[in-house]
């Protein structure tokens, strides 16, 4: 298929990068929220062990999911080669 370099193509391109950025923002916000919860639990000395335990598991999971998502978006969007 020919390369779509016309004007609408650029908006599509921009939207696609927008989706990628959106995913990063979304998962980033969740991770931020989890760190906020952990800081609160740590500050109040509220059974820190449970909250640390959860964060040690939850944050890496979110990061890997983000990693996979970005890997796909990067892989597809930057691929110049034809089929």
């Amino acid at each position: 298929m020919r390369r779509l370099t016309s004007a609408p193509d650029r908006t599509v391109r921009a939207l696609q990068w927008g989706i990628a950025a959106g995913t990063v923002l979304f998962i980033g916000a969740i991770i931020l929220w989890i760190t906020h919860l952990i800081r609160t639990a740590w500050r109040l000395g509220d059974v820190p062990s449970a909250s640390i335990g959860i964060s040690l598991v939850a944050i890496p999971v979110f990061l890997t999911v983000l990693g996979v998502g970005l890997y796909v978006f990067w892989g597809l969007l930057t691929d110049r080669s034809e089929r």
Binding site: I30, L37, T40, A41, V65, G69, Y71, V72, L76
Partner: protein, 451 residues
């Protein structure tokens, strides 16, 4: 990849191109139910939770049951499609997409049940600002959000090639499809990226799914209430989740098979395999239930037995024995011999299991609350129209999301079907050979294709 002009899979694209009168009828009916749910929730939001049937000892009822039920169904998707992908079962090809869609749709509704159950929904932001990790509800929130993101990505990635096909074949919604197709050209590199991503997600999503329902069970097992505080709740809920997930998946498949005439793709063999999987899960579920009630009965602790007899012979006996029949007796009877009219048997089994699993959640939540440890007196719980409305609204909302999804994207993954047709046969043959003792070990360098 197959050339775009291939017409063999036209049936899959049909629902996207043309919308029949049936579609509008279903959407009309569903939005009616959703309206009832909305009116119900508005009255509750306006007047307070007093409009429901909840009262002092029984502070949780329909909404929490719905929460556990819908989160349970969400395990259908990723768990089954992930396991089938990992075990490279070829018959999974037409099923995985529907399973993943169920997961994402029903997760939204499941999480929504908690918000409906709140006494002060206007203070929802407190969970964000003053969240407290010691509470199992926060563990729920974390694991459900993880599962939601993971399953959304796990749904989207396999859809990219299909969206690309749509971008090229379908005249409508050009912009949407081209954006979502992420510039898919089907090139070698893109295919490699896609397959590797699906492989990773398939591995990743299983532990998350298991964690979600274990943590949902911790909401009950972390308290000190009789017949809630038991160590078996984690696995018991996960088994229950997979069990009700498969049933829901089968029901969804049959509905769309009839609605969009996908007889060619969803063949009795698929239903026979899923039926057997359902039978295994029914036996496993029965095993867990038997274990839990035997320990309670044998332990003979007074408070536990108070709840136990309330379930067996007390005011909750119809729900308990209803659950036992619908979750064990009917599935086993139907699924043991799937020789003739498989579809009919599998449908009855999975419908009864869906109802049975809702009852099982109800039997876990309400009897314990209505028989408190201290001598309060009988708390009998009768749901009101608000709760029924909310339940109907949730089901209708889930069905509406699903139907709208099928209007936008193909309900069966087209490229996986084509891949199955082209490479599937040859690949399975090679793989079979590797299993036989005579042949040598396969070269590791050979790229795994066609997950």
């Amino acid at each position: 990849m197959a050339d775009p002009a291939d017409t063999r899979d036209a049936a899959l694209l049909a629902p996207i191109e043309r919308t029949g009168r049936g579609f509008y009828w279903t959407v009309g009916l569903l939005s009616l139910l959703i309206l009832w749910g909305a009116v119900a929730y508005w009255t509750q939001f306006d007047e307070g939770l007093g409009v429901t049937g909840l009262h002092q000892p029984v502070s949780w009822g329909f909404y929490v049951t719905n929460f556990v039920f819908f989160i349970g169904i969400s395990h259908a998707g990723t768990l089954i499609s992930a396991i089938l992908r990992l075990s490279k079962a070829e018959w999974r090809r037409p099923i995985t997409r529907m399973a993943e869609v169920i997961t994402v749709m029903v997760l939204f509704i499941g999480a929504g049940q908690i918000l409906v159950d709140l006494g002060r929904p206007d203070r929802m932001m407190n969970i964000i600002r003053y969240g407290r990790y010691q509470s199992p509800l926060l563990w729920d929130a974390t694991s459900i959000s993880a599962y939601l993101t993971a399953s959304m990505i796990y749904l989207y990635i396999p859809m990219i090639p299909d969206i690309a096909i749509l971008r090229d074949r379908v005249r409508k919604r050009k912009l949407l499809y081209s954006v979502l197709a992420m510039g898919w050209t089907g090139s070698e590199h893109q295919q490699k990226v896609l397959n590797r991503a699906i492989a990773i997600m398939a591995v990743l999503v299983i532990p998350i799914a298991v964690s979600v329902h274990t943590v949902v069970s911790f909401v009950f097992s972390m308290t000190l209430q009789p017949m809630w505080r038991s160590t078996i709740f984690g696995p018991y809920f996960v088994v229950g989740a997979i069990f009700s997930g498969i049933a829901a998946l089968i029901v969804a498949m049959l509905v769309f098979r009839k609605a969009y005439g996908l007889h060619g793709y969803l063949k009795p063999i698929h239903f026979r395999y899923l039926g057997q999987l359902l039978l295994v899960m029914s036996l496993l579920w029965f095993y867990f239930t038997f274990a839990e009630y035997l320990t309670a009965y044998y332990g003979n602790e007074p408070e536990e037995m108070h709840v136990f007899w309330a379930k067996f012979s007390g005011p909750f006996w119809p729900f308990f024995w209803g659950m036992a029949v619908t979750n064990f007796v009917i599935p086993v009877l139907c699924l043991v011999r799937l020789g003739r009219h498989t579809i009919g048997k599998v449908l009855t089994a999975s419908l009864s299991v869906t109802v049975g699993m809702w009852l099982e959640r109800f039997i876990i939540v309400v009897p314990t609350l209505s028989n408190p440890r201290l001598p309060f007196g009988e708390g009998i719980y009768f749901p009101t129209w608000v709760e029924w409305g909310e339940l109907a609204g949730s089901f209708a909302l889930f069905a509406l999301f699903f139907v709208l999804f099928t209007k936008l994207f193909p309900v069966i993954s087209i490229w996986e079907i084509r891949e199955g047709r082209e490479v599937g046969l040859k690949e399975v043959e090679e793989r079979l050979l590797t299993y036989l003792p005579e042949t040598a070990e396969p070269r590791h360098a050979e790229p795994e294709r066609g997950w």
